[in-house]
């Protein structure tokens, strides 16, 4: 932008600016190195050792034994160990994937509906937008507690409503029951994060020029057809970005599951099981291996998504 070459201290202006830019960036890069790159590297290193929580520096390198190891007993029987053959880990993977796919799908569909409603002009639109921001503003832990009270088996208002409506004939322990625990987590997550989805989609919708709708109306095209042929393709970029951000959040979910359904094998996710091993069970290295696997899974997912979906995350064509 500034090509006027004035010299000061033997440097041209662009050079001077680049030097300043370096010093402006250095503190931020150092901070990110300290809290992101270095800890990630250490986590991966710990996953290759037998470090314990009580002796962080006493770990020895043991290769990939935390992931998978094979031992042949004298009887000739082969024993496989490590997180890759741990049923609890695969249960957590399955829970996380199931949760993420279902919650993001529901949130996208409901978010789209809410966004379309908010994109229409009607009295009280501002109030509705304020109302849907409330679940987003409530801390996750608070919403988990609020819902676990509402879903309480004995005194919960949800059971009361459903009994009155005749949907169920006896009270259900929503969060404790193995069959309903995942549904409870999904319900709370959908409640809490649909607003975020709706607002992101709404921003996309508002960039669609109004005259397109006008033209379609004059031509007598059915609104549903307009939606699928015009609106949806136009908001696709916004939708793709919103979905990946939600998906990443869902794949690393911890707090909601930890508080709403503590110690339930039906909902335990990858983050929950990894932290359990890291801190609670004193299997620090084993938990590190699981954290590393979660990171690897997320990286592969993001790479595939950007590549297959041709998502332009920067939104400026890499300018």
């Amino acid at each position: 932008m500034a090509d006027t070459s004035s010299t000061s201290g033997g440097l041209t202006l662009p050079q001077q600016r680049q030097r300043a830019a370096f010093w402006f960036l250095a503190p931020m890069l150092f901070a990110l190195f300290c809290v992101a790159a270095w800890p990630l590297g250490r986590t991966i290193w710990f996953s290759l050792t037998d470090t314990t929580l009580s002796n962080l520096y006493g770990g020895k390198f043991i290769g990939f034994d935390n992931y998978l190891s094979m031992r042949t007993l004298s009887s000739g029987k082969v024993i496989w160990r490590g997180t890759l053959v741990d049923p609890a880990w695969w249960n957590a993977v399955w829970n996380t994937v199931r949760f993420s796919v279902v919650s993001v799908t529901l949130e996208t569909l409901l978010g789209l509906i809410v966004a379309l409603v908010l994109n229409a002009e009607f009295k009280g639109r501002g109030l509705v937008r304020a109302a849907i921001l409330i679940p987003w503003a409530i801390p996750t832990i608070v919403s988990a507690k609020m819902w676990s009270w509402m879903l309480n088996d004995q005194y919960g208002i949800i059971n009361d409503m459903l009994l009155r409506l005749g949907v169920i004939d006896q009270k259900i322990a929503w969060t404790a029951n193995v069959d309903t625990a995942m549904a409870a987590v999904l319900l709370v997550d959908v409640w809490k994060t649909t607003p975020f989805m709706a607002l992101l989609i709404l921003a996309g919708l508002q960039m669609v020029p109004r005259d397109i709708y006008e033209a379609a109306r004059i031509d007598g095209v059915h609104p549903v057809r307009v939606f699928f042929k015009v609106t949806l393709p136009l908001i696709r970029p916004a939708l793709m970005v919103a979905v990946i951000f939600r998906m990443l959040d869902a794949l690393r979910i911890f707090d909601l599951v930890y508080v709403l359904t503590p110690n339930s094998a039906a909902t335990k996710t990858m983050s929950v099981i990894a932290r359990e091993n890291l801190i609670d069970f004193d299997k620090f290295a084993y938990g590190s291996a699981q954290s590393t696997l979660l990171f690897a899974i997320l990286s592969v997912f993001v790479a595939l998504y950007i590549w297959l979906g041709k998502v332009d995350l920067a939104g400026d064509g890499g300018k």
Partner: protein, 277 residues
């Protein structure tokens, strides 16, 4: 208006009503519960029957909860200050100065914002122990940088990129150094973006749970989300729902008010991250 149009109108407003009720009912019910005590707690009331402040007294006169609120305010404020300070200069460089590897750097920053927190938990735990910060507010202020900084840098960069070139050129002609340009020329224009990102970073730090749970070990150093999660009675059967709801309302009301006041800015900030670019 024909019958079909009226029916459509009614259906539309019914949908609006469902959205509004579903959004605000849980919070409404938490408030109703927080004012109920004794047996009133154990009967389902759709409308407020009692207005009893006993639960609030229990929570606020408790040994640790006021302290937890103070911790949360202190940690969230310091997190915002650090994030904004580091991000303003960095995003000036990213938005206004051409240098090689800028695109790559922006992508790296975006990648960090996608990090699962659990992946750095073990490494951060070691670092915090090493620095002697375990069980202090600084452990959380340091670790929250991982999610506030990338986001702040990203939003401020997109915002600064849109500022007109002429302002800066005029300043350069006048002989202003980059530091003067940032502090005297850009900072006054940046206020709206700073308020938005600062608020979002504050909310993020106020609500964070995983690091707060892992890096604190005593009741007095906890933040409010951890304190609420840990509020418990003598046994599993005696969960103190009244005080839990009162505590929940206390930590949520300020946020809800902030969000409602700044709702336009927040929506702009949330969408600036990915959609607008």
């Amino acid at each position: 208006m024909n019958v079909q149009a009226v029916a459509g109108r009614i259906a539309f407003y019914a949908l609006v009503a469902v959205i509004v009720v579903f959004s605000i009912f849980p919070f409404y019910y938490a408030i109703v519960t927080s004012f109920a005590t004794g047996t009133g707690l154990f009967e389902v009331n759709y409308w407020p029957r009692q207005f009893n402040l006993a639960n609030y007294e229990t929570v606020l006169s408790g040994r640790t909860f006021p302290r937890n609120i103070f911790n949360s305010i202190f940690i969230a404020t310091m997190t915002v200050v650090f994030a904004l300070f580091l991000a303003v200069t960095a995003s000036y460089a990213l938005a206004r100065v051409r240098f090689r590897g800028r695109g790559l750097l922006l992508m790296t920053i975006l990648a960090v914002s996608m990090f699962p927190q659990i992946a750095v938990l073990a490494g951060l735990f070691e670092l915090i122990r090493f620095l002697g910060l375990f069980n202090t507010p600084w452990a959380l202020i340091l670790s929250y940088t991982i999610f506030t900084l990338p986001f702040t840098v990203w939003v401020l960069t997109t915002f600064m990129r849109d500022l007109p070139v002429e302002i800066e050129e005029a300043a350069i002609v006048d002989g202003a150094t980059p530091w003067v340009i940032i502090t005297r020329v850009f900072l006054p224009l940046l206020w709206p973006a700073l308020v938005t990102t600062g608020l979002l970073a504050f909310i993020g730090a106020w609500n964070e749970f995983l690091f707060a749970l892992t890096f604190t070990s005593s009741e007095t150093t906890r933040t409010t989300p951890v304190a609420i999660a840990m509020l418990s009675g003598a046994s599993q059967q005696e969960i103190p729902w009244g005080p839990i709801m009162a505590a929940s309302v206390i930590v949520t009301v300020p946020l809800v008010i902030l969000v409602l006041i700044f709702q336009r800015k927040i929506v702009a900030g949330l969408t600036a991250g990915g959609v607008k670019g």
